[in-house]
Amino acid sequence: MKNKIKIQRAIHDLTQADLAEKIGVSRQTINAMEKNKYVPSTVLSLKISKLFKKSVEEIFILDDND
């Protein structure tokens, strides 16, 4: 699964730490998601989408391996 967290973060001018604090996770989690090393749970995906006021599909995209 790919995601556009980094892009959305840039648009909203947030650092990894800012975003982590806003959704209540560690900075490592944001870092791992942006590097596609960690696929977030549904709950976390929904929280991120809600924060950026986007639908989940606009931020998280299935890729060929899924």
Partner: protein, 157 residues
């Protein structure tokens, strides 16, 4: 992230102190060939056979024993459990995954290593392997978990 088996983060320091003390004492006891005589007291032995192949095995007997090695083992076990199973400062699903992955890694690594020593280490030396193996699954888990945490922290944005 809700988990029902993790202790609060504040216990982590106590865990590290216990674990390190246990390891220091454990190494000391191991280096003196388990012959220390610092804390000999009477203890209850549930099953006792002093000599190998002794025919009169006794149940529930009071015997004398130096308990320093028992204390060191307790310190390593409980210290290790506390270190491995207390919450991080920010406990979330990614940390939870790292912990689970580390546990799986530690079990597999430990038994591959044990299988290797079964094949290539013989006689009394193997006794040391058995002693180490009481603690290595927990220690490998702690090392792996902290290594993964450190690795995921090190690359800044």
């Amino acid at each position: 992230m809700k988990t029902n088996y993790l202790l609060p983060n504040k216990y982590k320091t106590i865990g590290w102190v216990l674990l390190v003390l246990g390891l220091i004492f454990g190494t000391f006891i191991w280096s003196t060939e388990y012959e220390s005589d610092l804390l000999t007291i009477k203890v209850l032995s549930i099953f006792n056979d002093d000599q190998l192949f002794d025919s009169n095995k006794k149940l529930f007997k009071i015997i004398k024993n130096d308990i320093i090695d028992e204390l060191a083992a307790f310190a390593i076990i409980f210290g290790g459990l506390i270190v491995g199973f207390t919450k991080e400062k920010i406990e979330d699903e990614f940390i939870y995954k790292l912990r689970k992955d580390s546990l799986v890694w530690a079990i597999i690594f430990n038994y591959i290593l044990l299988a290797f020593t079964i094949a290539f280490v013989y006689n009394f030396t193997f006794f040391h392997i058995l002693v180490f193996n009481m603690f290595t699954p927990l220690l490998f888990f702690i090392i792996r978990f902290n290594f993964l945490k450190f690795k995921s922290r090190s690359h800044e944005e």
